[in-house]
Symmetry: C2
Subunit: 221 residues, 2 copies
Amino acid sequence: MKFEKIPSIAVTRLAVYARKLEHLDQKGEEVVSSVRLADICRINPAQVRKDLAYFGQFGIRGLGYYVKGLLLEISKILGLDREWHFGLVGVGNLGWALLKHAQSVKKGYSFVAAFDKRPNRIGLKVGDIRVEPLESMKCMVKEKGVEIGVIAVKPEWAQDAADRLVSAGVRGILNFAPVELNSPASVSIENVDFSLKLGVLCYRLTTAKSKRHHITSKLGA
Amino acid sequence: MKFEKIPSIAVTRLAVYARKLEHLDQKGEEVVSSVRLADICRINPAQVRKDLAYFGQFGIRGLGYYVKGLLLEISKILGLDREWHFGLVGVGNLGWALLKHAQSVKKGYSFVAAFDKRPNRIGLKVGDIRVEPLESMKCMVKEKGVEIGVIAVKPEWAQDAADRLVSAGVRGILNFAPVELNSPASVSIENVDFSLKLGVLCYRLTTAKSKRHHITSKLGA
DNA sequence: TTCTGTGAAAGAATTCACAGCG
DNA sequence: CGCTGTGAATTCTTTCACAGAA
């Protein structure tokens, strides 16, 4: 491992590897080579090795990687070896779906608070979470130990939601609203932007017949 | 415009530009320069110009780009100047949220069919769409002219959903399930993968204190 | 003049190819 | 041997810098 810059896309690929390793583990496979893993992810084996090499030496020459061992290492790297506390802002259809989803899968994260600005949502309960007004955010974030804010409000309210989350003290934001948020550099933001993906898809379908251009694309993007 | 390879990320940026141009248009601005637009998107002006140059010459030297005009051109390029017909597979919490969302925004797409394998979902109505069993897919896709399939089922059923959509004749798939789907090259797939983003976010938060590595990242990724 | 469009240069990411370990 | 880990080579992206149009 060298002291190098790590491209964010390499981190995304790590998350893909983790997923595939889980599948392999479930199938009872104990060892996997970079060629095999690359094959499953449909990328180049050198890419797999290089991505892992950013973080350490996890393989055994002549053999490959122990599935369980590598999975554990990647989980540690991604910080998925512990439980993260989420706070939801916006209990609409999407927010509701996210709360329900988190309840049904055991995956290293759980919602511990939920907020909405609409009076008719306040007091609703999902499991043992009660929907609170935005004004309670600062207090609740502290009380419940919310580390990551999840924004599922209309685009016009997303920046306000982000500002409130930041000043309440969250360290990261997962943003489902189709806007690019402003925030201090100390708070990390990841966007889950369905409409951008849709734009790319429609472009491909539109261009598919008249193949004037060849398009290049990436894993996990 | 040259006959060149277009990176997929440039197409994503085009979708970002479209969004920002809409905001500018709403604010009544008529002209925008590459410097201004780049500023809004927090990228390099040459990048904006180069991205646009992949597709044509839309600007006026010494002036900039007409906001409305450029927005229209980008919409044409992305194929967002017409209505796309979607078919949903999986009417769970997320699927429901997507149906509801599409009803509330007017944005160049609409769901014209919905499918679920669970008998208790079949017959449910959202607006004028009735949830149908998977077996009706082939017939309904033809009848309603579904072009894009949206997968919102559990990961273990996603490949089956994709196979059925493909053989029913859809041309593109927007996949919300956390799996990489196999499909013929003639069918485009875009993944909206919230859990990969979460992995990246947790990584950043975990690494934030011990800033051993500097991470590079991209717009719209 | 101002700002676009674009070759050329610089910078990143990916892939090759092989030394070296098990 | 077979496979990892990694410099070197290649390819892809971004940025610079300026010619040329309005």
